[in-house]
C-alpha cells in the first residue's frame, strides 16, 4: 500500500516542477512588475531602475525562478499588487470560507445524489428512474449561473429565507451565534450547488448498478443463497461505487478550490471569487499564487483518488 503512495508521490515531483515553470513563465510574460501601483507619478525612471536592481528583477530568469521557488517553499507568496498585504494571508482567509462552503456543498451533493442514483439503478425503467432522469436532464441543461440567480431571487429576495451575500451577519455574537449565522449564509449556495451538480454522480451510480446487476458474480452470489438485500448492498452496490471513488480525491481537494460562479453570484468571499477578482483587477501576484495552488490541488486530488481507489479496488494495488 505505502509503496503505491510513495510511487505516486515521486511521480508528482516532476509534475510540480513543470507546473511551477509554466506558472513562472506566465507571470513573467504578464505586463507590469511588482512596482506597478506602488509608484507615484513623480517617481523617476531612474528610481524604478534602482528598485528593480535592488529586488533582483534584472537577474537572469533562472536565478529569479530559483528565488521564487525558495520563497514559495517558505510560504512567501509575495505581496498583493492591489491590496498591499501578503498574498499568503489573503488566501488563508478566503480558503477557510471556501472550505466550509464546499464541505457543506459536498455533503449535500452526496446526500442527494447517492440515494437518487441507487433508486434509479434499482428501479430501472420504472417511474422512479424516469422521474430522476427528467430531473437530471433539467439540472444538466440549466446553466449554473441562471439556476443560482433564480434560487437567490426566489429564496433570498422574494421569500427572504436566507441572506443573499457574505459569510456572516454583522451583529452575530458568541460562538454559536457566529456558527449559526455562517451556516445560514452557506445553506442556500450549498444546496443550489448540490442540486445542479448531481448529474454525474447519479448517472455513474445508476449505470454502475444496472451493469453490475447482470454480472455473473451477482448470479454466483444468488446461487449461494445470499439474500437479495445483501446481494445488492455487498455485491452490486460496492462495485457500482468504484467510478465515484475514482473522482473522490479531486472532489475533496476541490473543496479548497471553490466555485467561481457560486461565490460570485452570492458575493461569497472565497477562493473562486478571489481568483476572479485578481483577474479583473490584474493582481498578478495573487493570480500566480492561486494558479500554483489550484495546480497543486489538482495533482494532490489525483494522488488522493489513486489512494482511495487502491483502498477500495484490490486490482489497482501495486505489489
Amino acid at each position: 500500500m505505502w509503496k503505491t503512495v510513495l510511487r505516486r508521490v515521486l511521480i508528482m515531483i516532476p509534475q510540480l516542477i513543470l507546473l511551477s515553470i509554466i506558472v513562472f513563465m506566465l507571470a513573467k510574460m504578464m505586463p507590469g512588475d511588482p512596482f506597478t501601483g506602488l509608484i507615484n507619478p513623480n517617481s523617476s525612471p531612474k528610481e524604478i531602475a534602482r528598485l528593480k536592481q535592488a529586488y533582483g528583477l534584472n537577474d537572469p530568469v533562472p536565478v529569479q525562478y530559483v528565488r521564487w521557488i525558495k520563497n514559495l517553499l517558505h510560504g512567501d507568496l509575495g505581496q498583493s499588487y492591489i491590496q498591499h498585504v501578503p498574498v499568503a494571508s489573503l488566501i488563508a482567509d478566503r480558503a477557510q470560507n471556501t472550505f466550509w462552503l464546499s464541505l457543506l456543498s459536498t455533503i449535500f451533493l452526496y446526500g442527494i445524489a447517492i440515494p437518487m442514483g441507487i433508486s434509479a439503478g434499482k428501479h430501472e425503467g420504472e417511474w422512479q428512474d424516469r422521474a430522476i432522469s427528467v430531473f437530471n436532464y433539467v439540472t444538466y441543461a440549466i446553466p449554473g449561473f441562471v439556476f443560482y440567480l433564480l434560487g437567490l431571487w426566489l429564496f433570498g429576495f422574494t421569500l427572504g429565507w436566507f441572506p443573499i451575500s457574505g459569510t456572516v451577519a454583522a451583529n452575530a455574537s458568541g460562538f454559536w451565534g457566529v456558527f449559526f449565522s455562517r451556516l445560514q449564509h452557506m445553506i442556500l449556495p450549498a444546496i443550489l450547488y448540490a442540486i445542479i451538480a448531481t448529474t454525474g454522480t447519479v448517472q455513474y451510480l445508476r449505470t454502475g448498478i444496472i451493469d453490475n446487476k447482470v454480472e455473473d458474480y451477482v448470479k454466483t452470489a444468488r446461487s449461494k443463497g445470499v439474500p437479495e438485500k445483501v446481494v445488492f448492498n455487498k455485491h452490486i452496490l460496492r462495485n457500482s461505487f468504484l467510478p465515484i471513488a475514482a473522482f473522490m480525491g479531486n472532489t475533496i481537494t476541490g473543496l479548497l478550490g471553490g466555485s467561481l460562479i457560486i461565490e460570485t453570484v452570492f458575493s461569497f468571499p472565497g477562493m473562486g471569487k478571489l481568483f476572479l477578482d485578481s483577474i479583473s483587477q490584474r493582481d498578478y501576484t495573487t493570480l500566480t499564487a492561486l494558479i500554483m495552488i489550484f495546480g497543486t490541488l489538482t495533482l494532490l486530488g489525483n494522488l488522493l483518488s489513486d489512494i482511495i481507489m487502491s483502498l477500495v479496488d484490490p486490482r489497482i494495488r501495486v505489489k
Binding site: S223, K224, V226
Partner: protein, 333 residues
Amino acid sequence: MDNQQNVLLDVEKLHTGYRLQGEFYDAADGIGFTLKCNEILAIVGESGCGKSTIVSSIVGLYDRKNTRVEGEIRYKNLNLVNLSEDLFNQVRGNNIGMIFQDPMASLNPLMKVGDQVAEALLYHTDMNKQQRRDRVIELFNQVGMPKPEAMYDMYPHELSGGLRQRVVIAMAVACKPEIIIADEPTTALDVTIQAQILDLLKKIQKESDSGIILITHDLGVVAETADEVAVMYAGQIVEKADVKTLFTHPLHPYTRSLLNSIPQSDGDKDDLHVIQGTVPSLKNMPRTGDRFAARIPWIPAEAHEVDPQLHEVEPNHFVRCTCWKTFHFQDEG
C-alpha cells in the same frame, strides 16, 4: 424399487417461457428427466436450445417479472416451481450448488476468494468466523488448490482461470449439496485445464454421492464425464439414453448430425459435416410438427410425426419423433 428412492430431482412437463413484447414464448417446452444420486446427467445441445433455461428454472435464477415457469420440479417433498424467493435462498447453495461458465466473471473482483466461499457457509450453517475459515481452507484442499491458506486471502484477479474455477467449485460444494449444477463449467478454460476440472468434478461426486447436472455443448466433455445424456433441440429433449448407447447407437437425426460434426482424426472424409441452418429464435420456433425437420429438408414430410412424442425404443433409450427410422444423411443419397 430402490431406484425410486435414489431420485434426487424429478422434472416433469417443465415449461419455461420468456416474455417478448408482451407475449410468453416457451424456451423450455415440456422438459422431463430425473437425476439420481451418484449420477452425472449431461444436457447437450446447440446455443439457444434451452439448456440454461432449465438450469435457471431449477434454481429460480430468473427474472420473475418476465418469466413464466409451469410444470413440476420435485426435489424431495418440495416443488421448486415458483417457490418463494426466501425458500429458494434456503435451497440454493445448501441443497443445490452451482458452477458457472466463466470463472473470470463469476467471482466478485472486490472480495477475497476465501470470503466468497465462506459467504455460502454464512447463510446455511451456524459456524463462526474461524470455523468458516477452516472449512474454506479444507475445501480449497479438496479441490486441489496449492497453498490453500494463502489462497484464502487472494483476490480473483490474482488467480489463473483454472484456479478460479476451483474456487467456484469449492463454493458450490461448500455446504455439501446433493445436487450440483454445472453450467458449461469448462467452456471458458483451455483444454488441459478442462480435463483437470472434469476429473475434479467426478472426484467430488464420488466422494459426496451427489448428482450432477452437466450443461454443455461439448460432446467430448459428455463422453468423458456423463452417465446419462439428454440431447436438446429447440426447447425439447429429442433423445435420452445412457452415454454408451448414445455414442455407439445414436438414433435421432439431430444426435447423429451432432456426432457426425465432430472432427475425427481417423476419418476418411475430408469435409466436416455441417448441420444446415441454425436453431430457430425463440419467437420463430415452430410449435407444431418436428422442430428439427427444417434442418433436414431432404427427409420427406411424411417421415415425421404430426405431434412428435418421446418414444422408448429400447429400455432407457428415448427418441422423439419417428423420422429416425428412415433418416439418412444427404450425401448418403
